[in-house]
Symmetry: D2
Subunit: 349 residues, 4 copies
């Protein structure tokens, strides 16, 4: 059994990986850590887990956190994982971090990200960066050799999966990309605030962080790895009154390719990607198709009149955009089938 | 493998049992039948099932419907099951019907129900009624000897589970019961209508069928079986803007019992009921605790100032109120553990 | 022009009365006071008011708060109005307080309320209580002689209007009342908290304060004034995912009266009540009918089988349940027509 | 008094103009016409209007429809107004049509639109086209000389107001425009369908009509009138779970202009446009700011890194996108102040 520690268990990312660990035949929960809710049962914080996970949440100072676990999930903000990962790796654990701490393979690239969002540009564990991998298995070969992975940002997953085939095929102008992205409210986490207070959020929608969203950096860096040219995009983050789900509309200028041709490029690119579903513009698709699951649904379309690629990318921000993708990484890092605990269809309606 | 046929596969009750059959290690889908959507893949009607259930939905006239299956689910309106069940039973199938057709053990009791809701009071297969059972395992012993079960109504499940311990213990006045019940919109089914058109339903709530809801009859009949006196209640059905979930507030006059005593009666009554969770009034509970699951959550409270029992009963109307309970029945009718494909915690948020 | 000061302008109660003052031909906003948002324009806090109310919100220490106004609205929690009202009255203002401070005409009745909810039972301005009136014009004659009014609680309005005709007519057992009340989320105010964080509130519903809701006291006291016997009820507060609106289902045991008779009693009682709409059980009614307005909609029904009155009472908790009712009081306290700024139908959908 | 006839009174466009006519001091409702709901009171179809508009809805064959009215609103689908407008104009009425019938000034331009959406390209009243005006007062001088106006499409209003200043100033590449538009569900009208059935729409979002939305034509035509070059855009219509509101994100390539410069162009362009609010990217804006009102809110932003204009345009699709704009047209066509019955701030939350 893979014994797991979850740091940040009291948040959405923590409860998400807990739910998946409970479904996993080869993994078990060893330790739940959080700064908040310490001393409470997980099932008192999240009553739906009653009878399934009644473990007590411990503080980061608790001795149990120092035991050896096979895998540690850091469902924590920027800055936590980079300070704690080294000790976990030394104890022999594999580490999956949800923040920006390990998404960038060099101190320089990290500094660019940190500067973009106003963090200290100096990484606290720069020596670990060489050994990290951007944890998106559709672009990178995650396998048993990986001990440290930076789980990608939710918007980034939707944009990268939606654009990678076109960028890799060299069919779009890498400076022409526009990503118009709408997220559900759970993307902002569990902490209440005025913007997500129900009376202010029901029947409402708005754009935010127009000055620059942190996920822009990782999308541009990841896509640039696939391109002969540097990718640069306009990114608009918006929030709509749904709980789970991201719908990103991705636009870029084509070089005359038709819809069928582009659709074939996307299908070929993803032929081994279990969690990517491709369809053409005439097939209806919506967030409900993938809500609660690890799937990414891509509607691949060409506005031939304007010679423009248009991809609608749907993911569940808490699954393929967070805990589901983290579990996919865990499976691959332990040599398991990537779909364990994940390959299921969700519930409708 | 238990081979299942689902009649009414195109509705919420049909897709619900399909999802559960896909999760079941010992069952498989043999045939999907519907009047609508005939000839389409199940996964075209319900895109979340893509890759999981791509079977084509057939019409009731299709020869494949005449093959032998081990279990047949009739997720159909009143009147369908009673005409088709006999043939299924003859072919050796066990039958689970979602409608009122087999919820009543005698033609007289059925007639009372049918009259209440304006149907023809003459049952089409009265000879089958002796062999049917009201399919609520918390009250009736469902087991391998059962071949025909009437799956209860969703409101009825919430009310019966919420009141049975008190009625059985004889601690409430059986004429004093008030059931104030709120359902999510999915309880009305998949067919669009004006009342559930999004702009009319968001931010709205209302009572309906004040003249009498059909589930009243089965609640009163089931509870009367537990009582020395005839149970008779006031029932108010209401709809609120949630998708899944029923919250029933149940009131009745006590004979001086205190909260602790009543709580103990409820705990004792349900000690072997895997899917019933009991808590006192000081423990927070909400629909989110059981959304997407087969659990019933009962908050047991006594208004001692007014000598009145108050129980808040939460279920997911599509699970414990429909397909989940049907699956629980199937498990028991085949001698399996009742929790297979059901004992899981749902997803939050 | 009636010059108004609004204390608590930064909350829902404050913005509600501001919106109504802007519509009022004979009133104007003189001063907006709040502890939060001090120094900001009202229209920066509430952007929909841009161009309509760009006044700066001042702190309670600002000299402008000491000027004379014709009316002062205290949209503040319990305990604020009772300390500040005397000074306002001395300056010649009429005072309308939204809290429990002035809902009770004697120190004893106030103490009962305060004890119920755990406040200091000693009223800070007991000498003012004789001059206050419970601000529900459907029960009390509010007129120019009134200088101090306690605006009622939102649940209380829905329950009192729904039960007063029956209690006054002596047709129900005053100990048999059950009030099953569902509120929209705005009833909890503007301050974010975990229970009303969008991901926890969408698609959710629950009961709360089962141990006792503060509005119970005022309902019982007001109804007892109409009854020869003391009224005592079971009250269940619930919250559902709507923004505005209360739906209270009210039950009580009748003495054999039929639906028509009871309906006539309700019509007669309300014949001069502009903001109460009555209908029988066969007329559909929902929160959407009165959303955004000052109307109370009562569906009057009798469950003749069980000899039980059932009234469904709908109000907008922020209008008839708060600011709208406060404006109705202001109109009457200044000898104006009660419907000014209020007699309009809202918007649909 | 301006006496109005509303054709299509039973839909959202009809009830919207009815609500506004009720608020208008110089107008009154003369006749409500609909194919559905004939013979019912308006307030039975829309219960919020009880006591405000209890007029009976008549069929188009009713003699009362043939009387003379001062203004006729056709809140009807394509094809109705073009057959009926001539008779109304002859009777001396002014006509405001909500459909595409009179949005195009020539038979050729109409044919282009009709072909785009699969209608018969031959206009039924081509002789009327010369006398019609595109009813958007921010671009066209609507005044007493206008007797026939084509009220614009809801998406079109949001796009045209959001792009006109930039197009008119010649600062954007007219072939680079992308309009990513999200609408609330009321935009699809009152008729129930599967896509807008509550259980399928709550917590859901999707793009639709990817092959081409009818409003594209009018946006391109209107903007081309302002440009030296033909404007051509990529348009993506999406639906999100709100009732009222459109949020359009508009992108286009600039020629090096900075944010301040562009913001100034927008402010100058709209200096006399009462219903357009402009802000820069640092001012928060959301649909809630203008919900229920006739205002258009434009957030004007430049992604200077990518040399790209980004405008977020918010309107209420049923107000500035439909009935509100129609009322604005009526006011101007009768020489009244454009803000009558419209210049109010809405309600929050």
């Amino acid at each position: 059994m893979i014994k797991a520690k979850v740091v940040g268990a009291g948040g959405y990312g923590g409860v998400g990986i807990t739910e998946l660990l409970l479904k996993h035949p080869d993994a078990e929960i060893g330790c739940l850590v959080s700064l908040s809710d310490t001393g409470r049962k997980m099932s008192d914080v999240f009553p739906h887990l009653r009878g399934f996970c009644d473990d007590v949440i411990v503080s980061p100072e608790d001795p149990r956190t120092q035991e050896q676990y096979d895998v540690v999930f850091f469902s924590t903000p920027d800055g936590v994982g980079m300070q704690a990962a080294a000790a976990e790796l030394e104890r022999g654990a594999k580490v999956i971090d949800y923040s920006g701490d390990f998404r960038f393979g060099t101190a320089e690239r990290y500094a660019e990200y940190a500067n973009f969002i106003g963090l200290d540009p100096a990484h606290k564990s720069p020596d670990l960066l060489e050994g990290t991998e951007y944890g998106l298995a559709e672009l990178h070969d995650i396998n048993e050799s990986n001990n440290l992975v930076g789980n990608p940002g939710c918007f980034a997953v939707s944009c990268i999966l939606g654009l990678a085939p076109a960028v890799a095929a060299g069919i779009i102008d890498p400076k022409s990309i526009i990503a118009d992205c709408k997220t559900g409210v759970s993307g902002a986490g569990k902490k209440p605030n005025a913007a997500f207070h129900y009376p202010n959020r029901y029947d409402n929608m708005n754009a935010y962080k127009l000055a620059g969203h942190q996920h822009t950096v990782e999308v541009e860096q990841e896509l640039s790895l696939l391109s002969s040219d540097t990718v640069q995009m306009t990114f608009t983050s918006q929030v709509v009154p749904v709980c789970r789900g991201i719908m990103s509309c991705l636009y870029a200028t084509l070089d005359g390719q038709k819809a069928d041709e582009v659709l074939e490029i996307y299908r070929e690119y993803n032929k081994n990607n279990q969690f990517v579903r491709i369809q053409g513009a005439s097939t209806p698709a919506s967030i409900a198709d993938i809500r609660g699951t690890n799937y990414c649904s891509l509607t691949v379309d060409v506005d031939e009149r304007n010679n423009r690629l248009r991809v609608i990318s749907h993911i569940d921000n808490l699954m393929k955009g967070q805990a589901g993708n983290a579990m996919q990484n865990m499976n691959l890092m332990f040599g398991l089938d990537s779909g364990i605990a994940l390959a299921s269809p969700g519930q409708y309606p």
